[in-house]
Symmetry: C2
Subunit: 188 residues, 2 copies
């Protein structure tokens, strides 16, 4: 049990259930994340949406992928590999139940569904709770030549994650090699 | 059974499981949605992210709320009621399994979790599939005075939803009256 509890921390770090409060981004004196030397990109929270996803328990998060202008253009044009200057941001939040939302859905659901299906509908409905962490992929085919042209970073509460965490990024993205190591597809 | 199948269409219309392909927005000759006369807002797909959410089966969607500049400022300042000019967009997608994502997560999960928890993690992980529909709330305290200052619209495949659908919007938003009829909270 102890082994499982401990190792969950590693999985949590990978997928983002650490406490997190977003910091203002773009400060020149901000700390860079290890290995790839990436700082929190300025203005990333205003970037356009690439797509959304979620990860099941014990992670239980709901996440949005945002892209800078270079990224959005590449996604929309279906351009591969992604050009230098591409930055993809992954924002993750704890997936939580909203009683307010469920109270709104319930009367409509009850008119149209048997009780067990109403329960299934509401039990499976979630909103974004507290943020967990933010991850980035930055394309620079020269600087990051040894990792497919991508640099990786993660920030917890505005602070860079440790080296052990960042070391896992590229290996985890290998299954997406045929899509330039990017899992996310553009959601129109 | 027939009754359930039929009524599911109504619920589906409300929550968005109709087939949908996004159209270019902002054309002057575009058709306006009924009742409130709202056209597909130009450039909405590039707006910033307010938050993300999902709705359980039989709807099974994953959704993003985007806001225009007026909306984003109001959300970030916690301003209520939302000022005139606010537009909130709700984009919804079928929630589907990504084998590629699951193949990436599996080896890490298997090192750290017992098999039944790996299954739970992967079974609960989804990405955005085909889009369903897009809904909008537009704030105009004069024009839409009788519905809390909000006009509502839904577009399926770029085409406005019918009047019966749009008629349900304001009633459904009543439980959020204390938050100016807006369910979504800003996700930092």
């Amino acid at each position: 049990m102890k082994r499982i509890a401990f190792s969950l921390v590693t999985l949590a770090t990978l997928a983002g259930i650490l406490a997190f409060t977003p910091a203002a981004s773009g400060d020149a004196d901000e700390e860079a994340a290890p290995i790839y030397g990436i700082k929190l990109p300025a203005g990333y929270r205003d970037w356009a949406l690439i797509s959304v996803a979620n990860v099941g328990g014990p992670i239980n998060d709901i996440r949005a992928k945002l892209g800078n202008d270079v990224a959005m253009r590449a996604f929309r044009e279906g351009r591969l590999p992604f050009p230098d200057g591409t930055i993809i941001a992954r924002l993750a939040y704890q997936q939580v139940t909203s009683e307010e939302n469920n109270n709104a859905i319930r009367p409509f659901a009850e008119k149209q569904l048997p009780p067990e299906q109403v329960k299934k509908l509401l039990d499976g409905s979630f909103v974004a709770g507290p943020p967990t962490n933010v991850q980035f992929m930055v394309k620079d085919s020269v600087k990051y030549a040894s990792t497919g042209g991508w640099g990786f970073a993660q920030f917890n509460n505005g602070k860079p994650a440790d080296e052990a965490t960042i070391k896992t990024c590229f290996a985890c993205h290998q299954p997406a090699k045929d899509h330039d190591f990017v899992f996310t597809r553009y959601a129109p």
